[in-house]
Amino acid sequence: MTDRALSVVRAGALTTVQDQGRPGHAHLGVPRSGALDVPAAALVNRLVGNPPGAAVLETTVNGCALRPRSDVTVAVGGAPCPVTVNGRPVAWGAPVRVPSGAVLDVGSAVSGLRSYVGVSGGVAVEPVLGSRSTDLLSGLGPVPLADGTVLPLGPEPAPHARVDVAPQAAPPAELVLRVTLGPREDWFTAEAVRVFTTRAYRVSPASNRIGLRTEGPVLERALPGELASEGMVLGAVQVPPNGQPVVFLADHPTTGGYPVIGVVRTTDLPAAAQAVPGTPVRFVAVRRR
């Protein structure tokens, strides 16, 4: 019986275990969590023959290095980056066989922020409320990787349809986020709504898995005071007292007291997860489907 596990040689700036998250528990104050770039996580799972719900690793900025304790197939997607096995370059965005004891190095992102590492069998840490995702807001799930962490792997999946390389969306030079207005756009002046949907913002370096913070023209409120706490959705654009919009990502709080001026289409959030600080952001108002 081989030891199906990964040793973490270099944890990187912030590498977490992520799957499809734990929706369905928001009424208990439990964030949904899960991979931020959903299509990238799904793709690396497909490339290594895992089911879509298998847990992958989500890196931030500078990748990570891993040593499997048995032969595994890996695939790296999301933010493009150099990938090596024992120092020799291998393909990004394609399945790669890594022998037991070799070192897989996922390098710094060339563009974008977050690379995804799929490993055959999936990362098999103990699930919490049905998910293996690390939730950085509430601390559920495994703690972020540290040098020396050992991660168990699930059983090797059955041989799968061979894919050599798969196309992936390039990280955005300009982030265009389609928003439906409301539910609280009436808490803002008409001018603020116009500014929000026409002027340029930039991605703030204070962004994280909880929210994409933006910097730009201040959005003036028409109503003072604080809203009574209300439920929040993925993609909600909350405007705190400083007037700078925050787009809620997977680890967002389940309730909040600042008004939501609009909600970003879920399909635009993977690009938001890859937008580096300083990236120009435009919010474009669209009609509800």
Binding site: A26, H27, E230, V233
Partner: protein, 210 residues
Amino acid sequence: MSLRVLPVGDDALLVEVASGAAAQALHAELVRRRAAGLLTVREIVPAARTVLLDGVPDPVRLTSELTAAEIPPAPPGAHEVIELPVRYDGPDLADVAAHWGVPAHEVARIHAETEFRVAFCGFAPGFGYLTGLPPRYDVPRRATPRTAVPAGSVALAGPYTGVYPRSSPGGWQLIGSTDVVLWDHARVPAALLSPGTRVRFVAAEPVGAG
């Protein structure tokens, strides 16, 4: 009950009502309808004056259904009462007593004689916002939040009582503490308190002793 349905993104609705009691009644009715197979939705998230429905397959149709719906008052005894033993020895007991205009031991008596109900959860997994005290006992948050409030702290802010499931920063007024574990993800259910749960605080030592 008058309610207003606000669309949220492409597949969620925020249902707004006039009071906290109305929100609890609406939440109870929506949970009943889901259990009866009459409502398909991923999340039902109650809050102070609203209930959020997320993951709604047909928001336009549900909006008209809700607008026409009769919402009965929340059934009074639908949930068991959970008793939480508490030591009324919090560092803000004297401040709360001053706000209430009563001696400190009266805070414990009044609090322990009140039946609470979990209006909603948030802030942290398993943190319930409990209502039940009359409005004259509302208290402000502390001017300076604490960087670490111990797990099990029983605390007041605005109209709410809460129990910190784990140590975290917090600005609520601490009146006591309990040893009961509010959140344990290895337990089923993980959260001791969920929306609608009725709660009584039981003074762990005779009130006024010592």
